[in-house]
């Protein structure tokens, strides 16, 4: 569904990604793990068009998207729940969710049942239903994370990019986030997941890639990566 080949990207003259390749098959969850500064978020930003890749090929359902601006990539079916949530603080919860469906409500994407999908999101995140008329800026960190995920789901995406959905959350909420990712997976949603909690991410994922200094150092089935001694030592030890 999402295919990244030999991607080079960075900021200005500083190259962060030195040619990485990742395959995300349809209805599978792929996780990208690695230490801080390895280039995980840069990968996500390049895939969704927030930064223009220097070179390489990105295909969404076979369609090349590497040179498209971010709004065209979103219309093509890529939803990005960004690091740090980035909800629209002065807009209400429902307004945030409707914006997630913007391409469906305007043009560029089949409309489908927007109201029904909003109900579905409220079903996944009951807290959001309680606070539907509140401004997003008044939500707690955990609720904002749920709103960011719900907003991304409103696109009915072909691929969902989740960047650090557990960042800054209390342990109970981290569990909740992973429970929801597992549920989305069971519904057949294709996901690329970037996580600091590598063990939990590998538990929910089908495949994993390890990113080290802008290069893929290991990849394979999530189960086999979890048992790889090198991966265990570097990413699955205490504190992970």
């Amino acid at each position: 569904m999402l295919s990244i080949r030999n991607l080079h990207a960075g900021y200005g003259k500083v190259e962060v990604l030195h040619g990485i390749s990742i395959e995300v098959p349809k209805s599978k969850v792929v996780t990208l793990i690695g230490s801080n500064g390895a280039g995980k978020t840069t990968t996500m930003r390049a895939v969704s068009g927030m930064i223009a890749p220097a070179s390489g090929d990105i295909r969404l359902g076979g369609r090349p998207v590497a040179t498209l601006p971010p709004h065209r990539i979103a219309r093509a079916g890529m939803a990005h729940s960004p690091e740090g949530r980035r909800v629209f603080a002065t807009l209400s919860v429902t307004d945030n969710l409707r914006l997630g469906a913007f391409p469906r409500l305007t043009f560029g994407r089949a409309r489908g049942d927007v109201e029904g999908d909003m109900e579905r999101v409220f079903g996944l995140f009951p807290r959001l239903r309680e606070r539907r008329n509140q401004l997003a800026g008044t939500l707690s960190g955990g609720e904002q994370q749920m709103l960011a995920m719900g907003r991304a789901l409103m696109l009915c995406p072909d691929v969902l990019l989740l960047d650090e959905p557990s960042m800054g959350l209390a342990p109970r909420l981290v569990e909740e986030v992973f429970r929801i990712i597992a549920q989305l997976k069971s519904e057949g949603i294709t996901m690329l997941l970037v996580e600091q909690f590598a063990a939990a991410a590998l538990n929910v994922a089908d495949y994993g890639y390890v990113l080290e200094n802008g290069r893929i150092s290991a990849s394979g089935n999530a189960a086999s990566l979890k048992n790889d001694p090198a991966v265990q030592a570097a990413y699955l030890g205490r504190g992970h």
């Binding site: 927030m50 979103a74 629209f88 807009l91 307004d95 409707r98 914006l99």
Partner: protein, 288 residues
Amino acid sequence: MDTLLQSLVSGTLTGTLYAMIAVGLTVVFGVMRIINMAHGEMVMLGMFGAYWAHEAGIDPFVSLLLWMPAMFAFGMAVQRFLLARVIPSGELNTLLYTAGLSLLIANLALFFWNGDYRTISLDYGMTPARPFGISVSIPLAIAFGLAIALTSALYLFLARTDTGRAVRATAQNPDSAALMGVNVARIDMITFGLGTALAGAAGVLLAPSLYLYPTVGEILIVKCFVIAVLGGLGSIPGAIAGGVLRGVVESLGAVYVSVAYKDAIGFVLFLGVLLLRPAGLFGVGRTS
């Protein structure tokens, strides 16, 4: 008591028109982080539009139907072909650029239309209406009603429509808005078009009540910039409250202090509010 009521009413009427100009300025700032120094010239163009329409035998208020879409298109073109190229070079450059645009438009107007003071005299503007013993200029009252209608229409557009939501989201965080599939360049065009249309419409509405001349925009931009900052730059309710407040304070000041100090009193109010609330009455921030 009558004097008080009279000055409250006329202050509210003029204040609402100030508010309308300030709303255009504040919406553009909120979404694009541009302080459009040429906003006053857009008002001036609207005034001259009404003047030429009147000369051609069309009622100035009817000419709104022509000038609002025309100013909307003009604003979109200015954004698309001029500002869009300058904005990436930084806020200060954009500020200077719009200041240059302001001078250019005002001087082109001087060149083509000369600097004479003109007025539009309407048959129904000769004698004021006198409801409850208060004197109300009929063209100003019509302008007041239309200003409220147009500003409310803009507000509803921003609050209720999907494109309006996209405008507000872009104001909040352009990068995230783009991730939602919002074409930020197009939103910028729509926003600048709306701001320009609102300024032009305010000019049309004001034309029967003010002298018009090519450099009238200079005074209006200073007043309305102060109003927008007073209300909190980027906030529409703030611009409306600021406009009406300033209109009323000016009008009360003219009656109870001195006509000569009318503008000064407006600025004292401005300084006072900013001392107590540096972000303005309805100050809004932006998440990074």
